[in-house]
């Protein structure tokens, strides 16, 4: 049976590397999703999720409720991502093509995928940040409504509503060629 977040946090406080590795495995992708929801830039999201996780481990004693480690961690991610936006806005213009995987089969496919990512990120940029977090955690990371509600500190009904509106608006934006006038 999987150890709970609280058990893992207590182990990390005792210096247990394995427990830290388990938390990393459990949350790094979600951290990246939240960082992407805030920054809108994949390279920045990578940096933020990594730094935030290290900071969380360094300040693990400050996590007042170890059972809510996920919520606490994602708040660190959000804060760091927002700080990055405030302090380093120029860097956000990095082209997504810079992060194109080297292992893609052909230049044409790479361009196609890059365009798809740009369209998705462009569409995401047009919906509220909290809607972006919800849809990325649900549709990309596969979290359940309840998990998202607990870790974002929202009522489950609100999560469902955000997800519904986010999907509807994203679809409309993508169908309309990337812009939505409302």
């Amino acid at each position: 049976m999987d150890e709970t977040d609280a058990e893992l946090v207590h182990s990390v406080r005792r210096g247990d590397r394995r427990a830290a590795g388990r938390l990393l495995q459990r949350y790094l992708r979600a951290c990246r999703a939240v960082a992407l929801a805030v920054t809108g830039v994949e390279a920045d999201a990578d940096d933020v999720c990594q730094d935030a996780f290290v900071v969380a481990v360094e300040r693990i004693d400050d996590c007042r409720d170890p059972a809510k480690f996920g919520k606490w961690l994602l708040q660190i991610v959000r804060n760091r991502a927002r700080n990055l936006l405030r302090s380093d806005s120029g860097r956000r213009q990095v082209s997504l093509s810079d992060t194109t995987p080297a292992g893609d089969p052909s230049p044409a496919t790479r361009v196609e995928r890059t365009e798809l990512r740009e369209r998705l990120l462009g569409a995401l940029a047009q919906i509220p940040e909290q809607h972006r977090e919800v849809i990325l955690l649900h549709d990309l990371e596969g979290w359940k409504h309840r998990e998202i509600a607990e870790r974002l500190g929202l009522p489950e009904g609100t999560v469902r509503s955000h997800l519904h509106h986010a999907r509807r608006r994203l679809r409309r934006i993508l169908e309309d060629g990337g812009t939505l006038d409302e």
Binding site: R17, V57, P101
Partner: protein, 119 residues
């Protein structure tokens, strides 16, 4: 409210480039381990107090020994002073007796010495 179908966001999946994602995960893991290592090396308040325990006891033992030696030295000095005053009393007794043309008797000498040890 109808729940719309899940959207395909796989183009944003960080693991679409497994090498990059694996490198990022590994770098994060190493940084966390380094942090845990330095955490082990950073003593907490209780650890610091515990670490002081032994030196404090050692210092207390040294001080106790020093005080003991000083006390013994002072006592020894006090004994010498007692001896000097006893000698003075014996000298005074002898002087007094000789002044009267007499020798101090054994009883008088014993009384003078007892007077010294009684101090």
């Amino acid at each position: 409210m109808s729940d719309l179908e899940r959207m395909d966001l796989s183009a944003l999946d960080p693991a679409r480039d497994p090498e990059h994602w694996s490198r990022l995960t590994e770098t994060t893991r190493l940084r966390i381990e380094a942090s845990l290592e330095s955490r082990r090396g950073t003593p907490k308040v209780l650890d610091i107090l515990a670490a002081w325990h032994r030196p404090i006891l050692a210092a207390a033992a040294v001080l106790a020994l020093a005080f003991g030696l000083a006390d013994a030295a002072i006592s020894a000095r006090g004994g010498a002073l007692d001896g000097a005053s006893g000698a003075r009393r014996l000298a005074a007794l002898s002087d007094n007796s000789l002044g009267r043309g007499l020798r101090p008797t054994g009883t008088e000498l014993m009384i003078a010495l007892k007077a010294r040890s009684a101090r």
